[in-house]
Symmetry: C2
Subunit: 596 residues, 2 copies
């Protein structure tokens, strides 16, 4: 049996006989001696096979990369000049006594220390890709994270309760994955988009504190860095208000960062209202590592000759704002053009700017195509409000608020990163005071900004009926470095309030009963005040590891086409299976199986 | 904010002011005073509302069962004669200062302390059923169990890795739940029956020790106590042999029973070969709490006049065995008839017996319809071998071995329970040395007794080809009190051995590549020797709680028709959803939605 993991051998074990299992990371012949770097999950140790040990040497000659070995030998110091302090085992080596080849290996399609591999190759041979030390590290950190979360929550009296995977559609905006029922002809289960309703029911049941680290499913187009199945740290508590819940959850995340990666997050996290976040950063998940802040100019531009600004300033849903870029006057024409194209993605029709070449020379010291359309006092006010310094540049956004916020908000992040205007610190915050609803232009109706079970703010119940757009909610998002890592709310615990919200959302009583009847029933039988939150585990672990994609912290992820390149899922199935499920294909002829 | 859970108030808190949240378990008016039993997850405490506190009393008068209250009051001793030591809080009560009704409740369909509720009613109102203290206890124990398992495995270096839920069918005998793919027309995911292949791949990846507490899915007819989705403690390790794995897993289960319910299981667990288990108990999951053991008689009955016995004894797959029932001669004709009907379920054509009324009188002291067909020396040998005492009864089974084993095995358990021949202790054991294959009479081919990735026993590789029926495997089952709570094996880590097994199972190379190509590939690139086990969490927790059904340890279970009576899943979906998934119903007209 193994005495040690390879990666743990060091000078403490000098002159001891060790038995190791591992994979051949690399084999070198050097001066008639064979050196093997033997790798296991804890690291790599150097194995030396001396030709004097003829039997063993004969075996060693057959060994190739990724063979699985059992070796026994004695730990000795490396000869002077060959010590490698970059390795934890770098001061020692193991002189082999016996080698056993437990399993040979074909030549792998890539080396375990190769970089810049194509992701398709990695996913196809995921069992090899996962041998790479970086992937080992990522998944082990993920384990550390879940253990830290679990022990924190356990200590706080939270109970891990499993909720169903085969359940009923909980319409929360996204498309459901459906599972046809064999026993119930024509009926379908849905895979959960979240355990939202079940966790609320558990509060009605009096469990008081619930958590679950659970899989959720959304059948959406996989833009950006999404997966069809993802993992949520799902939490719900009773009898706490939003501040108490936020304090508890902050504590959990702080504990997590300390335990998993030794980072101390600030206490308490700063809070921003949704309104202020949009106002200052154009985003409801601002990256506070970037010190740039919007300058509000809407009031200033009401009467300026420049029509683009004036029109935007006068529109009820319009906004004019500026973003000051320190030392931005060094930006080239080309760079500014590129940023102009960039903001166009967000609907901005242009990107006006002023370069502050000199502050002393007044208007003369400024450089801008729009100067001639702006009165001098307005320009002065812009410079003052934005705190512009010599050498700075000020970008302008003028359009509907949403476009200004999206465009300048994205520009803020892009320039922050590109120009190094970013602290390398961790900057968490809470965004609070969200509106209950947002207007859906396409469907011409109010939609829930969080979900329809979110409680209105105290005193905002009547607004649900009179001015839904002004009603604020008891929702809160935890944002870290510009990424929303968690979101939740105090829920509605009274049936009359829930009905008002369904009304505002134009959900009829019949529809509400059909879809959420069990929740409405439950609210009538003594539902406690309750609230909770859900964190995106994949995202948190990806941020901690510095992974570029959540695919690098998921053992067996899917591609953007929702396929598993390793197992070839999804795949075709037998006609008999479909018959048993009472379904048939619409386009049976177009289906072609994957093959190896 | 709450100062205490209701159930924790005791004499330590005398004269302290407490704030409690909870549900009205019961309200009594007694001598002008209102008494409320306030319940939360930790228990019940008595609240006293004195009419002198007029405001509060007025509120208290409105209170009904299951209202949610916030109360503040002072802890005082109960008046003499009203102390209730059955309650943890029974020496004290809380004299109310203020009451707030946080939410009223309709009159619930049942009381929280009602017993013998119909399961349908309970499942329909699961959020109320889960308020019942027994259900709270069950789910909290479940949490304790998973935490104990997790911390044990974490300490032993196991890493929790999540495997996909949307995956490819892993044909292990049961029917898959399928999930149509929207992006890939005509293709389907399958929900995992177990993470078997993924955990083996993780071993190939060098994770060395993996675990996961994970949901598995089988679309089978829900006979007995099964659920469409169930939870498995899934474990895999590298470089350990079967004895080392069993020792580790025994340690885990022992630790679990100690931590969760304070029970010390024996160390080590006894081991029985599969053959011996069948021989002695007629079962591969014998309940060792029952001291009854089969007596082998096949050799004795080769030439007896009694044709039923003689034929069974002479058949190559036949068996004659006896089961001695201590004090069984008191069984009535009617009781014996009932047992005869019982064994008929298992295919037994009769249930011969001998009552030993007196041992001294020889054949005269015996009572049996079959005595006249059995020579005296044979009868004497039966009595000797079975160790029959005066007052005992001996039952006989004679048929194909399978029928004898099933029938007498079931009878042994039934009589053991009915006649109190059962220790109340916990009796775990390992069953080992399973055959690799069993003959499937219907399909006329060998089938894997465990699964096709199970390693043959050392030296049995050639038997895979020459005599598959004689090949033993490195599989092991953990059995507790007659229930298989876990099962696993050392796996095949060499591709040539895996091919031999597929051959024996009559799985063609093409089929194997199609279904398991990724595993076969993985075995070629340095797969380590590995093995593992999976435990049924629902079953273990049900046994620990003494629940009659696993449904009592699952928060939101499904019925035998695989339906959720609470949420009405599965249900019908919109035509648009089916169109997006490229499927249609076979019998669209027959579908009727559930309704409330």
């Amino acid at each position: 049996m193994r005495t040690n993991y390879c990666g743990t051998i060091n000078t403490r074990y000098l002159n001891q006989i060790v038995t190791l299992y591992g994979w051949v990371h690399r084999r070198r012949d050097h001066g008639g001696v064979i050196f093997i770097d033997l790798r296991d999950r804890e690291g790599i140790v150097q194995i030396v096979c001396d030709p004097e040990n003829a039997n063993t040497f004969q075996i060693a000659e057959k060994i190739r990369n990724e063979f699985v070995l059992k070796i026994t030998g004695i730990v000795r110091p490396r000869p002077e000049g060959t010590v490698n302090l970059a390795l934890q085992t770098g001061e020692v080596e193991v002189l082999v006594d016996t080698i056993e080849i437990l399993n040979p290996s074909l030549t792998p399609p890539f080396q375990m220390d190769e970089e810049n591999l194509s992701e398709a190759i990695r996913l196809e041979h995921r069992y090899l890709d996962l041998r790479r030390p970086v992937m080992q590290k990522n998944l082990r950190l993920r384990h550390k994270v879940t253990m830290a979360v679990r022990s924190f929550l356990d200590q706080q009296g939270f109970i891990d309760v499993e909720t169903p995977m085969l359940t009923k559609s909980t319409p929360e905006g996204a498309r459901d994955y459906l599972v046809p029922s064999r026993v119930n002809d024509g009926h379908f289960f849905a895979l959960p988009q979240s355990p939202q309703l079940f966790k609320q029911l558990l509060m009605v049941s009096g469990f008081d504190r619930y958590y679950q680290i659970t899989r959720c499913f959304r059948d959406e187009d996989l833009r950006a860095d999404r997966q069809p199945e993802f993992t949520q740290i799902d939490i719900e508590t009773s009898f706490l208000n939003e501040n108490q819940i936020m304090a508890l959850m902050e504590g959990m995340i702080r504990n997590l960062f300390r335990e998993a990666i030794g980072v101390d997050l600030p206490a308490p996290f700063p809070r921003l209202s949704h309104e202020e976040a949009m106002f200052r950063y154009g985003s409801d998940k601002p990256d506070l590592r970037i010190p740039l802040v919007f300058t509000e100019l809407t009031d200033l531009m009401q009467e300026v000759p420049f029509q683009v600004f004036r029109d935007a300033a006068k529109k009820p849903d319009g906004r004019v704002a500026a973003l000051r870029i320190p030392k931005g006057s060094e930006l080239s024409r080309k760079e500014i053009d590129d940023y102009t194209h960039f903001v166009a993605i967000y609907g901005a029709k242009g990107l006006a700017y002023i370069k502050i070449n000199s502050l002393e020379k007044g208007m003369e010291g400024l450089q801008s195509p729009i100067l001639k359309f702006l009165p001098e006092p307005v320009v002065k006010a812009v410079l003052e409000r934005s705190g512009a310094q010599e050498g700075d540049l000020v970008f302008f956004g003028a359009d509907k608020s949403k476009i200004v916020n999206d465009a300048l908000g994205a520009l803020r992040v892009k320039i922050g990163h590109e120009r190094g205007l970013i602290d390398s610190e961790w900057k968490p915050l809470w965004v609070v005071d969200f509106p209950m609803f947002e207007w859906d232009e396409e469907e011409n109706r109010w939609k829930a900004l969080h979900h329809p079970f979110t409680s209105p703010a105290d005193g905002h119940e009547d607004l649900l009926v009179t001015e839904p757009g002004k009603a604020l909610s008891k929702a809160y998002d935890m944002v870290l470095n510009g990424v929303e890592i968690g979101g939740g709310s105090v829920r509605i615990h009274r049936q009359d309030v829930q009905s008002k919200v369904f009304n505002a959302l134009n959900i009829s009583e019949g529809e509400a009963r059909e879809k959420f009847g069990f929740l409405l029933n439950a609210l009538q039988y003594g539902a406690p005040p309750h609230g909770g939150i859900a964190f995106g585990l994949d995202r948190i672990v990806a941020m901690m590891t510095g992974a570029e994609s959540i695919r690098d912290v998921i053992a067996f992820p899917k591609t953007q086409r929702a396929q598993c390149l390793l197992t070839h899922a999804p795949n075709i199935v037998e006609e008999k299976q479909l018959r048993e499920l009472h379904i048939r294909l619409r386009n049976p002829k177009e289906v072609i199986s994957w093959s190896y």
